[in-house]
Amino acid sequence: MTLSVTMTVNGKSRKGAVEPRTLLVQFLRDTLGLTGTHVGCDTSQCGACVVHVDGKSVKSCTMLAIQAEGASVLTIEGLATDVLHPMQEAFRDNHGLQCGFCTPGMVMSAVDLVRTNPTPSEHEVREWLEGNICRCTGYHNIVKSVLAGAAAMAEAGGHD
């Protein structure tokens, strides 16, 4: 059985045919070709697939595509346009990524942290990122990046 689903992805209306069991991340990657969102596990633990749904961070492996009917989805491809988002820039300045696989999820998750808590402490950053696993960085530079990104976002005046 296939169903039709329509949602706004990175500002554009996108429509596709999915099975009831199709996950949002499968729709993004396989149907729309937005391969910046990654799949790192099958138990909703690693956070490589984090995107924003209606402004909030969501593990897109934990949501069915049809549950996003009518929603507005933002993926890593849509976060920056001409210039990097301050959080992306902070990850780059602070070497907050190595292999890059967990990075889109980390960045999307971090942007949502700053939305809910504009001035997080190091402890709060570490707690927030508990659902995003990185095997390369030991988190040291990710935490540094998120703190720098939060400061830069505050300076940019609530740039989202």
Partner: protein, 798 residues
């Protein structure tokens, strides 16, 4: 979003070139590739640890919606497909070759571990393949399984292979047993310890994937795969498994999401999708679920060791005696035999002058997932043995562990230093890195912090580990004599384009290490051109001359040296062209900062002018010199490199919960010359997280009766998370490698090598006032809580 402003000088923390694509979702990992007409493969794996395979009924699966083909081990055998080869042969202590059983691509007759691949279903969609796999009926005859390392050698243990008596692959030894016995005979003190080095799951964040493609018009095969070394895969798969010549087989390892060793090896799925693409004349893709990664990626460590250290009246080490049983799992993975031997026992001198060392290793098969190199590969195991027993000796002799180490360090002026276990260290200064770490960790102030923690009811401990690492296995001739079935050089090509920009082709492979940046810095410094004008290309056998890939912290020491050698050739040719243009003798041409200059004059030509002349040879010494500026070099190292350092962990154990918190972690390392300090620090951070993970969190646990991997997901296998770790204090002391042109030693694995022993020495230190210990890794809350609960005040006095 360009980066043309960045200086590329060696030693500058240049922001990474590769980051722009990773940060914007433009990275291209294997699973991101899709080919027109692509089919999807699903691998059906054994649910049993040990069983005979009877009839396989795949009729219903073959008839299911979307299914194009179902293949089993019998089909592979009929097609003449070979087994997965082992790349390293060990000769045992009696001079006989190791037992080397076959490793079929799909199991034939028997399955030997949970997750052993049995059949592949290929369908239009992945879900269809997966659904159909459930329809395959297999008549398994279950057999008793052997899971634990020490159980494998017990009389009557189930045999994984009939040809491997007592499940033994080899018994191997190194060192002078007589000299060791003599050392123990005159010892004033002997320290003894039994240790487990826990089995780990590498868990690179990108699950393995493979996409096979076949061009029916040309007969060319292409494999996209998550590999650290595409040429090695091409060689092994082409020559041994599919019998395809190299010129008809292209292997691409695009962006790869971490490896840590687990993506070195040639895996069954790579051969299956490549072969199936040829059979079906359509591309075939396979991507692992994380659960599959747990059951099919080679795992790491898993040693059971007894160690004894003999000391004289001045606490100088006289002799070290080590006996290890190493678990290889159910099959020989590509480099498995080398890990608990050549890469382990040769490191047992550590940073010390121990004059006599003997190590006996017995490697065993079990009904578990194969074990091979994982970050550090043998060297963390060796460091753990040495540094734990040194601490035990210090405690027993009531000596400061730092002082005992200093007393036994190899002297600063003793290089080159020949150890009793084959290696010759070229350079180092272990006193300097230890002093640096002690100072940074405020070692002197620790007792006050212990008291303060005690007032809060916490057990605080500090632990030191020094380590030595041997990187860039070499030279090829020596590696060959030790059993390597491949050369261990590296290749590079420097292609200078007519307008002076440069493409560097390297046989090393980057899966997070930042080669596109650090290698560009090497070339920028060497040729005097901006980093923005340099691209580093890796991971494609159709583009790179050849390459052995990236593992063992070899990329810069071996691959970087090949780049320097190729640059030297470019500069030598450029000098000839410049001499012609400037009407000077070649010997008078100097090359510096991108300018070819007649010595002592201001007459010069830029690198760009020389490049253009090479491709537009109107005024050119065409009789003596070919046009063009494109040079290839292969570099075979003269020796290993020997990074070293000192790690200090400070931890607190909560007596009520058994939870260990890492309060502070200090690492002072010597990696030789540093090209990009930002990248080096990042490498250390990541290694530390994996080492701390091994010490406190991670453990691959198998059910002893059934052989099921109990820790088969991120919900069961404890990966270190952001809130489990502290910030790290990382510093460097540089002594140059003496035998490669950059003076570099390698930094990729060090963090994972020193840290487990540092953490566990800190745990031992925290528990010492209670008279408790020793504790094996991982020091989980449950383990420590039980231990602390068992403690009675009467036992406290030590």
């Amino acid at each position: 979003m360009t980066d043309s402003d960045q200086s590329g000088a060696i030693g500058t923390p240049l922001r990474r070139k590769e980051d722009l694509r990773f940060l914007t979702g433009q990275g291209r990992y294997t699973d991101d590739f899709n080919r027109p007409g692509q089919l999807h493969a699903y691998i059906l794996r054994s649910p049993h640890a040990h069983a005979t395979i009877g009839a396989i009924d795949s009729a219903a699966a073959t008839a299911a919606d979307g299914v194009v083909a179902v293949y089993t081990g019998t089909d592979m055998a009929t097609a003449g497909i070979g087994g997965l080869p082992c790349g390293w042969g060990i000769t045992d202590k009696h001079g006989k070759p190791m037992v080397e059983p076959g490793h079929p691509v799909l199991a034939q007759g028997k399955v030997r571990h949970v997750g052993d691949p049995v059949a592949v279903v290929i369908a239009e969609t992945r879900d269809q393949a997966k659904d159909a796999a459930e329809l395959i009926e297999i008549d398994y005859g279950t057999l008793p399984a052997v899971v634990e390392t020490v159980d494998a050698i017990q009389p009557g243990a189930p045999l994984v292979f009939d040809e491997a008596a007592q499940n033994t692959c080899y018994e191997w030894e190194i060192g002078d047993q007589g000299a060791v016995d003599a050392g123990f005979a005159r010892a004033v003190h002997v320290a003894k310890l039994d240790l487990l080095n826990n089995r780990l799951v590498p868990n690179a964040m990108e699950p393995r994937a493979a996409l096979g493609d076949f061009d029916a018009g040309t007969g060319d095969y292409t494999l996209y795969t998550t590999s650290q070394n595409p040429h090695v895969i091409r060689l092994l798969m082409g020559a041994y498994v599919l019998h395809l010549p190299e010129h008809k087989l292209r292997v691409v390892a695009p962006d790869v999401g971490g490896g840590f060793g687990s993506k070195i090896y040639h895996y069954a799925e790579e051969a299956i999708v490549t072969w199936a693409a040829g059979q079906l004349k359509r591309p075939v893709k396979w991507t692992a679920d994380r659960s599959e990664s747990f059951l099919s990626d080679a795992q790491g460590r898993d040693h059971v060791t007894h160690v004894e250290l003999a000391l004289d009246e001045n606490a100088k080490f006289l002799a070290l005696r080590v006996s290890t049983v190493a678990n290889l799992g159910a099959y020989l993975s590509t480099f498995a035999p080398a890990i608990p031997t050549i890469l382990y026992a040769t490191l047992l001198a550590g940073t010390y002058t121990t004059p006599a060392i003997h190590c006996a290793v017995r490697a065993v098969f079990t009904n578990t997932i194969p074990v091979d190199a994982y970050r550090g590969a043998g060297r963390p195991e060796a460091t753990y043995v040495v540094e734990r027993i040194v601490d035990v000796a210090a405690r027993q002799l009531k000596l400061d562990p730092a002082e005992l180490r200093r007393r036994n360090f190899i002297a600063k002026d003793a290089y080159p230093y020949q150890t009793p276990v084959a290696l010759q260290y070229d350079s180092g200064d272990y006193f300097a890195t230890l002093d640096m770490a002690l100072k940074a960790a405020d070692y002197a102030g620790f007792e006050a912090r212990r008291q303060e923690a005690a007032s809060r009811g916490k057990l605080r401990g500090i632990g030191i580990a020094t380590y030595i690492e041997a990187c860039g296995i070499a030279p090829s001739k020596v590696a060959g004599a030790l059993g390597a079935r491949a050369g261990l050089y590296e290749a590079a090509e420097i292609r200078v384009h007519p307008t002076g920009s440069v493409t560097v082709f390297t046989g090393a492979h980057s899966h997070g290490q930042g080669h596109e940046t650090s290698f560009a810095q090497v070339v920028s410094s060497g040729l005097g051109i901006p980093v923005a004008n340099i691209d580093v290309v890796h991971g494609d056998t159709a583009k790179i001359p050849f390459g052995m890939g990236t593992y063992g912290s070899r990329s810069l020491a071996v691959g970087g040296s090949a780049i320097v050698k190729a640059m030297d050739k470019v500069i030598a040719k450029g000098r000839k062209i410049a001499a012609h243009l400037l009407e000077a003798a070649e010997a008078d041409i100097e090359f510096k900062d991108g300018q070819f200059t007649v010595a002592g004059t201001d007459r010069s030509k830029s690198f760009g002018e020389i490049a253009l002349t090479a491709y537009v040879p109107h005024n050119y010494p065409i009789e003596e010199l070919e046009p063009g500026l494109d040079e290839t070099a292969f570099y075979d190292p003269k020796n290993f490199t020997f990074p070293a350092g000192a790690h200090i962990a400070e931890i607190e154990i909560d007596r009520d919960t058994g939870v260990t918190s890492v309060i502070r972690f200090t690492a002072s390392d010597d990696f030789g010359r540093i090209i990009n300090p930002m990248i080096v620090e990042g490498q250390v951070h990541g290694g530390l997280a994996q080492g701390i993970g091994q010490a406190l969190f991670e453990n691959a646990v198998y059910d002893k009766a059934s052989g099921q991997l109990l820790t088969g997901s991120f919900m069961d296998y404890c990966m270190p998370r952001a809130d489990d770790l502290p910030n790290f204090d990382v510093s460097n002391n540089v002594t140059l490698c003496t035998h490669n042109p950059l003076g570099v030693k390698g930094c990729g694995e060090a963090g994972a090598i020193g840290s487990p022993a540092a953490i566990m020495n800190a745990v031992a230190d925290a528990l010492a006032p209670l008279g408790l210990g020793p504790v094996d890794m991982p020091a989980t809350p449950e383990k420590l809580w039980r231990l602390i609960q068992s403690h009675r005040p009467a036992q406290a006095a030590e």
